[in-house]
């Protein structure tokens, strides 16, 4: 079977100044709901700009997500955390293994099986949604 061509996206499709949808507005409201319950010194570190556009939302959601990931967890949950850091976006923790005694009903853990060598290339895993700002020649959208 011949490889299928992945559609390209014209440059003008990107619009960070688009007004947020009802979905993102609600997502922001949910973060605000959490933010209101945070200590004042923490809230002071979070962005307080007006959120109208998708870019506005992203610049608010990023820092508060960072905070939620980095803050200490209650003792009962802290055992499950695997190196969560408020570091660089898109390079975060390893998958969490919630290990304990296996249920008798379960089959053998797949995690114990031997892994084969890696064959992936870096290129194959690069997100297609990340587009260089230097790219100039995007095709025009059909009207």
């Amino acid at each position: 079977m011949e490889p299928i061509l992945i559609p390209s996206v014209p440059r003008e499709a990107f619009n960070k100044h688009r007004r947020i949808s009802d979905l993102v507005r609600k997502q922001v409201e949910h973060f605000r709901h959490i933010e209101k319950r945070l200590p004042a010194d923490i809230r002071a570190t979070l962005p307080q700009h007006e959120i109208v556009t998708e870019d506005d939302a992203a610049r608010y959601i990023g820092p508060i997500t960072d905070y939620l990931l980095s803050r200490p967890q209650p003792k009962s949950q802290s055992k499950k955390v695997v190196s969560i850091k408020s570091a660089v976006p898109m390079r975060r923790s390893l998958p969490v293994t919630l290990t304990a005694a296996a249920s008798p009903a379960l089959k053998k853990s797949p995690a114990k099986k031997k892994s084969a060598p890696k064959k992936e290339t870096t290129k194959a895993h690069k997100s297609p949604s990340i587009r260089s700002k230097t790219k100039k020649s995007a095709p025009k959208r059909k009207k």
């Binding site: 559609p7 979905l23 955390v81 009903a105 089959k107």
Partner: protein, 407 residues
């Protein structure tokens, strides 16, 4: 009951669920009926009446962007109109779903008769080469419905918890500890579960309960890709697309929304689906032992011709103040049909699934397969069909028989 002696099931170690945003089955996959009559898509004769009384037929004129602006209403009252054609229970206690209210519902947003017709548009398969190829080369669900005739967050809750705890809206809600999330159910098992959102700036839609209280469950899409390349994929991965156009925080480029929510470009979602698929498909260590489900959370107010069926009530009731209609909702019928595709090299090409599924099928399937007996589940989840039984071929398909994608 899943037949665990099936070769593909014996191999199965990973399940990946990618949940996209706000497109109906007919809008995305309805054109496939002309290629495979078993797919319950469009004949071209389906129609709604517009507000002048003129019939508006479905047409293959869907555009990638700028056509469904404003975002079609998909809150509970609007979806009720879309499904029942504007007939209320007060008018007819025995009303039946007729899918005749989509054009009127869209008209109500702008009072523009011409623009209201856009809600009947659908894509031809050549415009969606990724989703269409996967749907025709693996298994497509003819009857996967959103869990609630309403918006995103309550529908996504069904994918995480098997219930929305009585919610039919986008409002803040807190979980009922009676029903844990599917991810928490993996505690005490040798299996692992993780939610991957795109990046910090897009984050998760599961904010109040899981992200706030259990951040250890989360990773970024880059983490997912790294896990695939390092053969460290969790047993269960739930992937959220990018919900906003925004700059990469490190200044390296623009990150375009890939969720396909109107008015985001549908092609960016095609790219994202291809990336998720390729991360598994191109790794010979993962491909034989991984199943991928691509499913949309709800229809986004866009036309579909199949009336949603009734279902097992989940024990909650949303009162009229919450539904925005004269009636309470007992969670006893499903929402509008959405695209859903199941992918594995152990599935025969051209498979069409006719059983009824909904998002409670996701925790139901994952719990059944990885966790085993688990009593504290919603009645909806307990009643929901599970989908791994379609991974049923006696031999794995040859590599050359499984599609690949290229830029």
């Amino acid at each position: 009951m899943l037949d665990r002696t099936l070769p593909g099931i014996q191999k199965l170690q990973h399940v990946v669920v990618l949940m996209m945003e706000n497109r109906s089955f007919d809008h995305m996959l309805g054109a496939l009926k002309s290629e495979n009559p078993a797919i319950d898509g469009l004949t071209g004769n389906e129609f709604n009446l517009d507000t002048t009384g003129e019939p508006v037929k479905v047409v293959p004129d869907a555009e990638f962007q700028s056509q469904l602006d404003p975002d079609p209403d998909h809150h509970f009252p609007a979806v009720d109109m879309q499904i029942f054609g504007g007939v209320t229970t007060a008018q007819n206690p025995n009303r039946q779903p007729n899918m005749q209210g989509f054009v009127t519902s869209y008209y109500n947003q702008q009072h523009n008769v011409g623009h209201s017709h856009e809600i009947m548009n659908y894509f031809t398969s050549d415009k969606l080469p990724i989703l269409s190829t996967l749907a025709t080369q693996y298994a497509v669900f003819n009857r996967w419905f959103s869990s609630i005739p309403g918006p995103t967050l309550c529908n996504r809750a069904f994918a995480h918890y098997g219930t929305s705890f009585g919610q039919v809206s986008m409002d803040v809600f807190y979980w009922n500890k009676q029903y844990k999330s599917v991810y928490e159910r993996f505690e005490g098992t040798p299996y692992t579960a993780k939610l991957y959102y795109y990046d910090q700036q897009s984050s998760s839609l599961e904010v109040i309960n899981l992200l706030q209280n259990q951040p250890q469950l989360f990773g970024t899409f880059q983490d997912f890709q790294d896990a695939c390349s390092r053969n460290k994929l969790p047993s269960y991965s739930f992937i959220e697309p990018n919900y906003t156009d925004h700059d990469a925080p490190d200044g390296t480029g623009e990150l375009i929304a890939s969720d396909q929510h109107p008015d985001h470009d549908v092609r960016a979602g095609e790219q994202f689906i291809a990336t998720v698929y390729t991360a598994i498909r191109s790794n010979p260590n993962l491909w034989p032992k991984t199943a991928i489900l691509i499913v949309y959370d709800e229809h986004g107010g866009i036309y579909d011709h199949v009336p949603p069926p009734s279902c097992t009530p989940d024990g909650f009731v949303a009162q009229p103040a919450a539904t925005g209609t004269p009636d309470p909702f007992h969670f006893d019928r499903l929402g509008v049909r959405v695209p859903a595709v199941l992918i594995s090299p152990w599935i025969a090409p051209g498979t069409v699934i006719n059983e009824v599924f909904e998002h409670a099928s996701i925790p139901g399937t994952l719990t059944d397969f990885f966790v085993g007996e688990y009593g504290a589940r919603s009645p909806r989840e307990i009643a929901a069909n599970t989908f791994l039984g379609y991974i049923n071929q006696p031999t794995m398909r040859a590599d050359a028989d499984c599609p690949t994608f290229k830029k």
